[in-house]
Symmetry: C2
Subunit: 253 residues, 2 copies
């Protein structure tokens, strides 16, 4: 965990060059919800802000370096935030990005819904980044201080679509989106076996995109014909896609 190791990372950085490598763009990193549980168990009590917390990790590291008068430089890199353009969806038409966590029976954070609602109201697409659980301890192992970790888990497009429907139909019920809202699932973007699947949220609940990492885009109504043409190739059911598009998305700017 970077959060708890920043002192180590910066320990000799006033004497030698230290490189801190991340996946994707250094500032494009995704908040990871399990942080909150870990931090709770460490007694730090950062819970309400769990998303924010992780999203600011790298900013925080730079600020600490500054305090120690250690100069820093960040090197931009490719990121899902822009490579999602491989779906043919125009990056100009994306609103704020949200994250989706693995729901537990008693923990179904739905704050993503309000942000999606803001995007939907002005017709923008929403990129949904999906939960990753690595080096996760069971509560029992955590309580006993055993450093035994669960196998890594990566949320799939199907799981995300199902959770989105659950939040709409059972928790929020504001009609921000529905089973027939169009979305695009992607897997392994940028790799040779990148996969793209387009369809309604309901269809995506049954989509199998294979190995991780997955992401999902919920379409906004501010669309362009080229986006439709591009996505049609990846539609689960081309006829369905075309008819939902014509009914709910075409010329709805």
């Amino acid at each position: 965990m970077v959060e708890s190791s920043s002192d180590d990372i910066l320990a000799d950085a006033d004497k030698v060059d230290v490189a801190f490598l991340v996946v994707g763009d250094p500032y494009g990193c995704v908040g990871s919800p399990h942080t909150s549980r870990e931090r709770e168990s460490e007694g730090s009590g950062i819970v309400a802000n769990q998303w924010y917390y992780r999203a600011t990790t790298h900013t925080d590291l730079v600020l600490r370096a500054r305090e120690l008068s250690i100069p820093t430089r960040s090197i931009p890199n490719a990121s899902i935030l822009t490579s999602i353009g491989t779906t043919g969806l125009q990056l100009y038409n994306f609103g704020q990005t949200v994250s989706m966590v693995f729901f537990l029976d008693n923990w179904k954070p739905a704050s993503f819904y309000d942000r999606i609602a803001e995007n939907v109201r002005i017709g923008l697409h929403t990129l949904v980044l999906l939960d990753i659980k690595v080096k996760e301890q069971s509560l029992e192992n955590m309580a006993r201080g055993r450093k035994i970790y669960e196998p890594p888990r990566y949320m799939t497009v199907a799981q995300c679509a199902a959770q989105m429907i659950e939040v709409e139909e059972e928790i929020k019920m504001e009609g921000v989106y529905g089973r027939e809202s169009l979305a695009v699932g992607v897997a392994r973007v940028g790799s040779e076996n990148e996969k793209i699947v387009a369809g309604t949220l309901e269809e995506l609940c049954d989509a199998d995109l294979g190995a991780p990492l997955h992401s999902l885009v919920l379409l906004g109504r501010r669309t362009h014909d080229l986006e439709r043409d591009f996505l049609l190739e990846f539609a689960v059911d081309k006829e369905k896609f075309r008819s939902v598009w014509a009914r709910d998305y075409e010329g709805k700017q």
Copy 2:
């Protein structure tokens, strides 16, 4: 121009591998407004959609390849859309991206303003991408068919800030932002001499960030203390920045 050369690019792509290289992420490319004038002079009449047009160029190229049954693959790359995180502003808090063109006496397109307004209303930051004019012909040279090009021009943060104020005060006047709105100018992001300047729009009108390329971010009110702490280092006037922040941005979620 890619738009008029896609047939050439794809000419032998069914027989040999063809790579099409771009600056930044292949789908993150910026609409360039002078396209409209060029296209007009070519008689294509694409004017109203000039922004869209260029932003869809690469999507269009892939669609044409598909028609010819030529397989394509895009390789993600670093982009200003995410490397703007070097300002310490959280990428989660950005709304849609807009572009700013060089105003002419009789041509001051203000559509960016409505999109900024949408972001401002929900408290999000707006990345403003700035105009680039390369291989631009004067109207006279264009009319006479002379392939003589003007020297390249790149919009500066100062020019962008001044045009933003002009649109607010003389054209739109809806109070979406003002001279005291906070913004961040960046130049040469990712390079060793990257520069960041934070201040009010009015202050940025006098900021000199040196050589291109420049970009600007207009701050939304949905801010985080770490964003303030990070930006303070780059403030034109730290006291002013701190007081405007406390008055207009702090706890305004």
